[in-house]
Amino acid sequence: MSAVNPAIEQLHEPHHEAPPRGITRWLYATNHKDIGVMYLVFGVSMFFLGGLPAELIRSELLTPTMRVLSPEAYNQVITIHGLVMVFAAVMPITTGFANYLIPLMIGAPDMALPRLNNWGFWLLPAAAILLVLPWGLKLIGIGTGTLDTGWTMYAPLSLQAGPGADFAFVAVLLLGLSSTMASINILVTIAQQRAAGMSWLKLPVFVWSWVVTALLLIAVFPALMAGCIMQIADRHFGTHFFSAAGGGDPVLWEHIFWFFGHPEVYILLLPTTGILPHILATFARKPMYGYKAQVYSFVAIGVMSIIVWAHHMFTSGLPTGVEIYFMLSTMAISIPVAVLFFCWFGTIWRGSMTFETPMLFALGYIVLFGIGGLTGLVLSDAAADQQYHNTYFLVAHFHYALFGGPIMGIFAALYYYLPKMTGRMYSETLGRWHFWLTLITFNVVFMPQFLLGIAGMPRRIPDYALQFAPLNMVSSIGAFALGATQLLFLYNLARTVFTTSGEAASARVWEGSSGLEFTLPSPPPFHTFVTPPVIE
């Protein structure tokens, strides 16, 4: 397993020391670091693109009146916000970290299947274009704009939608292909390319988190892809899988969607729960607590996430016994998730902590994701869910879970690895401002939404009753501030990457860092670990 890959040996000639120049470096990229960087750049760009619809949503909801968007445009905007953030922002960013870091962490020269890697990436921009192209077409008078069903694409509403729906379904198919390719590549790399002595239970936790994430993607994305093909067939080829008018079953789509959709939550979450303990251990200057417990929890979360999907459907009218099963199984997930929290606490407990930006974001992650997790406990109650389901309580819950978790984790990881990737330190002052403003404004946006949901405001409405006005205004103002705060991050990122104003980073970057990636210079050379390292 540890023998030098002959193909890499061949490549390793003098003229290949440096990357090719110009656009071909990126178009034909097979180097895992280049592809990793492309994923990151794409994902961060999409994070900002997906943030614009969010700002539009909050502008419309600033006051109770139809002012900014028509109801039709509003439905399209919420759909695109969801699809872009889930599929085009968070997933590519975590995949980018996998590409960049996994070979470095396991001492491999590259990913196992470099050309597949290239394909996996280049499907993404195509999918993103398909998602937003219908808006462009509408501007020149073709079609009715993009999909307007919400990201859940519930049938038969999806069957009424304009041609934008077809674009969205094909985009999801491409995203599924891309994720499946990336996942296969990651699994093969971890199974086959580990350096000598890097046994399974020595793999860094981040690598383990991706073992489970990749397995989940391969297990559930095909279900969604099949579902999308069935939707397209219903729309154009006269089938009636989901159309009750033709004997089909709208609830079948809900099952298919959530069979994918619930594990998807963990697909978004797990890679950042993998990176978090590395960051906590570094800045606590202490070895990671409960390595095996975390690994086993990942596996347990992965398995359980596949068997709890219908807790998203407690109001669909499932049989009582089915509801009780899904409630009890959902509650069980709280145990492995609590193990992760326990290990994070154990890692910082009695450490010697400093609070650089990555550490701040990691601690913020624990608090915000904690709120997401605790409110998830509430939502698992099939009876009380009658009151919470499809309200702003739910919206707030999953934003605490998905912004508080993955996005805070992504910021932590970006600040943590940026000096390694670029060889330059970012501005610590700006980083801290970014953290504190994000933490505050995020809560200003979403804490009122818990209360709105409890008071009875449904989600996905462009206009609302007057009693919801004060809290909506607070939430909207918070959203504008949260959006503006992210520009600080963008500036800090650009400043680090494109200028030399940051001080040079050492190989170890952080005083407390450990791991194979920190044995390499910052930035690492184009080819790394051509001769595999030896793990004691």
């Binding site: 039709e72 038969p156 089909g248 608090v367 406990l377 389901h389 409405i461």
Partner: protein, 405 residues
């Protein structure tokens, strides 16, 4: 550590205090609406219990985190410990307590009340009355099979208020022309069906939210113990009118309910009689304007110009582009020529309003509007927005086309 304990105790007290002041604040804009059914009371109990528990868990967690951040910072704690797992039986025991506590919270403290209300909610047997609820894009229709009465319930907020051309009233977007009237203290079974896409029937004060899925007959129940007006709305995205299909329930005593049934029967008989009445053009235009603004304007807009790509203009002579099936349907009925909406034949106009256009969002209004209302709104549409057909349609013309084509 002792400081932390004191903090915890204080917070426990705070959580208790919060739960004690809740009933007084229950009608606030940031809290649950006052529950008026057994299920809603169950859910509020669960919610209060949950809230106290998760607030305590959150404070313990955040407290521990903050304590560690202060006590174990490099300034105060220069030498980091090196432990990576619990050592010895005592530590393992200590480390496993949070998980045992979590299991108890999950399956006993929260699980038992949850099971109780799930079973209670599922039990629709022994109902004293059944009401059939049908969801449409975008209004609700209620039928009382035992009394032979039924009606549609449409949003009554004027379109001008939605478009910010008039001041909003108190029940903006949560008011209807015909509320669902139910007797108090009786167990009422709701049978729910949808004529198009998935909707959800939600009245917060009743604690029920039931998806209405096309192809299925869903059921749930309510037993309201306080007379009053309760407001809710559709809770599943169902298209552009999703925010504009509220549910308003007027709960009255059983005796008042019987009186209402008598009045409603008389009203429906009077409406049926209008099918053979005749009206003047002025009467029809005034009535048609009202119908258009409450029903049609949601899609075709107050100015009759529609929404490009989605809803055609009523005003003739305006260009319109949309999906191929919609254009084909409009052209076949004579309302579309050379990229523009035109004044089509009267008979087809009546048929479109009566039966809708299958395959497009245009619904059938035969069951929802009276013949007089349809006659009025078509008269209005054909003589306003710059249209000048001069047609005056009487209810009998509509009634003649109502059954059969």
């Amino acid at each position: 550590m002792s400081g932390e304990k004191i903090l915890q105790l204080g917070l426990l007290g705070l959580a208790g205090a919060v739960s004690r002041v809740r009933p007084a604040a229950a009608r606030a804009f940031y809290n649950f609406q006052t529950p008026v059914t057994p299920i809603a009371r169950d859910v509020l109990f669960i919610h209060d219990l949950f809230l106290v528990i998760i607030v305590i868990l959150f404070l313990i967690g955040t407290g521990a985190l903050l304590y560690s951040v202060f006590a174990h910072s490099r300034r105060r704690h220069t030498q980091a410990a090196t432990f990576t797992q619990p050592h010895g039986r005592k530590q393992w025991l200590w480390a496993s307590t949070p998980f045992v506590a979590l299991l108890i919270i999950d399956y006993l403290i929260l699980g038992i009340p949850a099971l109780h209300s799930i079973w209670a909610l599922a039990d629709t047997a022994d109902a004293q009355m059944t009401v059939q609820v049908t969801a449409h894009q975008w209004h609700w229709q209620y039928q009382y099979p035992a009394y032979g009465i039924g009606f549609s319930s449409d949003l009554s907020t004027p379109q001008q208020q939605i478009e910010n051309q008039a001041p909003k009233n108190r029940h903006f977007l949560l008011q209807v022309d015909h509320p669902l009237v139910l007797p108090t203290h009786e167990k009422i079974r709701l049978m729910l069906a949808s004529s198009d896409v998935i909707h959800a029937f939600w009245v917060p004060a009743f604690g029920i939210k039931q998806d209405v899925v096309p192809g299925y007959l869903r059921k749930t129940w309510v037993q309201i113990d306080k007379p009053g007006v309760y407001r809710g709305q559709c809770a599943e995205l169902c298209g552009v009118g999703h925010a504009f299909m509220p549910i308003v329930v007027r709960a009255v005593s059983p005796a008042q309910f019987q009186q209402w049934v008598t009045r409603e029967r008389a009203r429906e008989a009077a409406v049926a009689a209008t099918a053979s009445a005749t009206y003047s053009e002025t009467e029809l235009l005034a009535r048609g304007r009202h119908v258009f603004q409450t029903i049609c304007a949601a899609c075709h807009q107050l100015n009759g110009l529609g929404v490009p790509g989605a809803f055609p203009p009523i005003a003739a002579g305006h260009p319109f582009a949309a999906s191929a099936p919609m254009i084909a349907a409009l052209r076949a009925r004579g309302f579309y020529r050379q990229g523009q909406i035109v004044e089509g034949p009267l008979v087809d106009h009546i048929r479109i309003v009566l039966h809708g256009i299958p395959g497009t969002p245009m619904p059938a209004f035969a069951a929802q509007l009276s013949a007089a209302d349809i006659a009025a709104v078509i008269t209005y549409e054909r003589n306003d927005f710059g249209n000048h057909t001069g047609d005056v349609i009487e209810p009998a013309q509509v009634a003649a086309l109502e059954d059969g084509h």
